[in-house]
Symmetry: D2
Subunit: 364 residues, 4 copies
């Protein structure tokens, strides 16, 4: 959950917990589907378990926050894949089927849906887990029942008719978790600051400054890594990076003489963040300019510098994605998309992206 | 929860639990409002506590199920009121203010809303409680947070802006509980059978039969009670009636020679209920007639008799009631109805009643 | 839990819940043992499940409370056995093996220990369940871990070395539940009153009085049933008896003219019980006589009558029973009784029965 | 919980959680005592809240593990006290009373018992919390009830008679948590390795090696800090130290050429620890020497070096401490120590220290 613990102090659970939780749910899902006469071999089950266990292994420190800060345009999924391929060599091809599923190349299409879709084991675990640890009880979903309602029809993962209210409830809970927890304005600003710390550090290193950092982190500050040069050596260095390196570096950087780097680090470490205003309408350019000017003049900063402290961003969420539909299976064998099946609820409304806008600036 | 334990065996909680739970929530609500500078005197608080403790005391056996079977057109609220008035005499006018609030005659209008409105303590307790005991986790609501978001503006109970997702979630959870639990088709048919048992028993007594029953139950079988003759003596007899009397009577009535009464009782006691089909469209008259005919011929029954076993009913629920709006309070003091305030969710759709139809008939 | 809900209002769970819970734990235990290479055939598993499901079916209304009031010297276990034998005929000998196990006649001795021993599934379920519903958190036991630690050695059910602290904790929790919950002084007096209600009712019927009661209850008031005449017809009548009959009868008997019966019923129904004093020493005969005299003179009662209202009783509990030892299995294959295995805790002390004494008398 | 998460992955809660939890319990305790007519002024309450909030602030990284590694013979309590004194200056003497209580100098002696005794809020919080996060359900205690049973008699904190079973249960649960969780052999060895990492690092620095480390950690590697030179500057540096610094340093030290340091760090980071054997008897000198020799010869190490990898330790726990007795208050005003009050349980046995011994050595 990145820096969400700054808002919800209980949210101290780790990626290991999530990975184990996903595996547990996958185990249940396989049991349910087998019970409903969907054949899944032991080899296929193992592959599903491996794929879900490793699906997030490509996340770097602070999960999504730094996904685009350390490497450029390399998604965490593609890094997960590289890890799986490396492990596949170490484990004598034992992961071949898992990789095939993960890449969407297995002929049974619903296998991928168990790992990556609107009702995959990943979401069922993280929503329940994050709701529990944050104490935001409204985000709690009934993953047990959703799994019990799973079935397969025409090689697609579907939900049986009796589970329709649970799906509705799941979509509403998920939407709530996004706007109330993941996009909590304090988390947003903390994440932006963290991104900017890394960006500034790379900029300074580029300009020839020497910044104290662990070897793994230093590597990513010095080298510009993208798809073209993300080789096995990079993967190995990436695997050594964790939250400890980043926090530890920030604790050192507080002492750096660069105004931007030192102040950004201080803000995060002391939880003394920027002021943030979140709203439905775009941020007015006037207000933005005014805030920039105020801070620029106060500290006599360049435009480049002030952009680190006064900025505006957009956050967007789509509660339901038509391209990856959730299908309801009726007793007569008919399939309907959940947005059509719901007898009253205007789920259609959930398929339009909601945008919110925010501005961050130092407290005056 | 009437006979819901036939479907959800865990649903064994009692009205006493609910009454105590409501009082607990009221206590929290008063604390929250006082903290927000809404003045509530000790005397007012006591009245609120009394009113919520007793708000459901007028329910007879099996709650809503028998509300119209024992007495005619006397709502449980009006019986609750009669009890409060009786207690008011015993307690030397200590309940006067509670009664004023309960009747909606107190000048501070939000007091009544704490007891009877779309966000009253009653609903906050029973949804959470029923969700817990049935195991239908999706119905779980965050009553703690909803109460923390309460405020009063212009003498109306309102929810602060930050609580809007919790209100949405509450409405969705409530709707789910209705369709999945309270209107579970097995509960519906069990309730209909219970109503018909009482109806048949009264009919037989009317015709001069003698049916074994406890004195309190006998009284209501023999006398036709409505608003005009519901006096203190009736109230006293009503107070002695409970689930034990009804179940115990049914256990005796199984042995009665009347085909209708004996079979209806047997169905409930042995949990061997009628077959029920629940659907979105009205029940076709043809199918209905056919089922009636089938059973009538099989047992050689009169039309009156067959109506007890083959019948069709409608069930209707309104997830959001505009006449009793939930208002959202913005930081700038503005008020908006939640259906307008929600930034994406089409809550408007929830304010249209949903009807479902069902037919019950013996298994063939 | 008999009348414990008079003290712990949450304790409203039913025998059905307990029976299902025991089956669930048995299912887990079989899984654990099979995992440890203890062979249990499908047929044997089914028998274990049946035996634990039905082990308590012979309990009458209010469980232990009326065990000796309705029938004389017929234990609930022996009634359970009669039910199983009857069902065995209906189910074409499908219960034969279950019965063999239940009677201790199966050659694999540890099977019976899963159903009836100091660590049987019955206790693991009821302690956890009663602790949960009463809210007495100290009584909570870790049934999951205890089951995970089960093993079989020399055809005995044993606990692996690593589970020793969990066994200690289980014994302490069980002892606590007895003294704090099951032997709560208010439960004790309520139970005694209930026993005396039935005793008085039988006495009056013996003397020729006619008391209103459901047919099943009437049967047991009129007939003196013991081992010698507990035949299939009696069993059938017994099966129809439940709490509803007893409560319903008491509601009628409140109106009886017999001072004893009417007052005892009133006390229970209005939860206006006798005063009770529980102590470690025996009740002094002087105090007892004094209380008897006081009440006798006040109401001008016979000795027989006063004995119903002023009485003294003993309650006794043995926290650990050497005759049915809990054995700890060490890694080297050695077995030790838990009282010897505990490295510090003087568990020996738990194997001496503790007696407490109480006197009940009307409030003055 | 130091490195317990290596055994119990859920044990990821933080010291902040514990500090807030303690404050919450203190708030409840004050409420209970005031309700029982023990006068506690608002000023006194604030002091209690401050004292319990800060009681553990002197812990360094990994809590108890490094208590003696970074500074010598300065307890965490005395460091907590130094922090309070520093804060007292910043907050204009607002902490004076809290400090007085914490030092045991306040005239009302039971105040200190709420913060530091066998039934203090610290223990009530950490046992419940650690039991929850590790999943060791047997360690769960009923802190709510223990607090509800608190009272004050003769200026001592006491437990009312009715709470005696809860105290017994608390002592048993605490003992279980020590032996099963805190002294889990894997936690013990991990902690010993961590201690040795720091010891080795200081040794190398002493010998003139330069080890990469954050400034705060470097300070404590270079300087020998004890009671005599732990001044405000040291305190300031100490306050900057956290788990991040230690883990981050170990990640660097893996690359160091020193065999001992690099291997110890690797063992912890890769969770590939030493083999450990825990037993009731002292470790035989022969076995110890043999293990030392084996590893020494294999890697050609000096005695000093081998002592880092093959060592024996003792662990000791006293379940009940007579010097800080738990007193039971009877209704007649009498006080008894719980070991005397318990009616059966041999609590006396708990007051003898239990020792266990373990040897650690590399896997062969």
């Amino acid at each position: 959950m990145g820096l969400s613990y700054l808002v919800y102090p209980g949210a101290h659970h780790s990626r290991l917990h999530h990975a184990l939780g996903c595996m547990h749910l996958m185990d249940q899902a396989v049991q349910v589907l087998r019970f409903k006469q969907i054949e899944i071999s032991e080899e296929e089950k193992e592959a599903l378990m491996i794929a879900i266990l490793l699906h997030d292994i490509g996340h770097g420190p602070f999960s999504h926050a730094l996904e685009q800060s350390l490497v450029e345009e390399v998604s965490h999924e593609s890094i997960s894949l590289r890890f799986m391929e490396k492990l596949n060599i170490e484990f004598n091809q034992r992961l071949t089927l898992a990789i095939k599923i993960f890449k969407g190349e297995y002929h049974r299409k619903f296998f991928l849906q168990l790992i990556a879709s609107q009702l995959d084991m990943d979401r069922l675990d993280y929503l329940k887990r994050d709701s529990f640890y944050t104490g935001v009880a409204e985000g709690n979903i009934n993953s047990k029942r959703l799994i019990a309602m799973l079935n397969v029809k025409d090689d697609q993962l579907v939900i049986e008719e009796k589970g329709i209210y649970s799906v509705e409830k799941f979509l509403v809970a998920r939407r709530l978790m996004y706007w109330q927890v993941y996009f909590h304005k304090t988390s947003l600003v903390a994440e932006q600051l963290l991104i900017r710390v890394l960006k500034r550090a790379k900029q300074l290193v580029d300009r020839g400054e020497k910044l104290p950092a662990n070897p793994a982190l230093s590597f990513f500050l010095i080298h510009k890594i993208d798809k073209t040069n993300f080789d096995l050596k990079v993967l190995d260095t990436f695997s050594k990076l964790d939250d400890y390196d980043v926090v530890s570096a920030m604790k050192n950087w507080v002492e750096e003489k660069d105004f931007v780097l030192s102040n950004l680090c201080k803000m995060i470490l002391n939880r003394d963040l920027l002021k943030v205003k979140l709203q439905n309408e775009e941020i007015s350019e006037d207000i933005f300019k005014e805030e920039q000017l105020k801070f620029q003049q106060k500290h006599n900063l360049s435009q480049e510098e002030v952009d680190y402290f006064v900025f505006k961003e957009k956050v967007s969420h789509l509660a339901y994605e038509h391209l990856d539909p959730i299908k309801i299976l009726y007793k007569n064998g008919e399939l309907k998309e959940v947005t059509q099946a719901s007898d009253q609820f205007n789920l259609e409304a959930l398929s339009k992206p909601v945008n919110k806008y925010y501005i961050c600036h130092p407290k005056s």
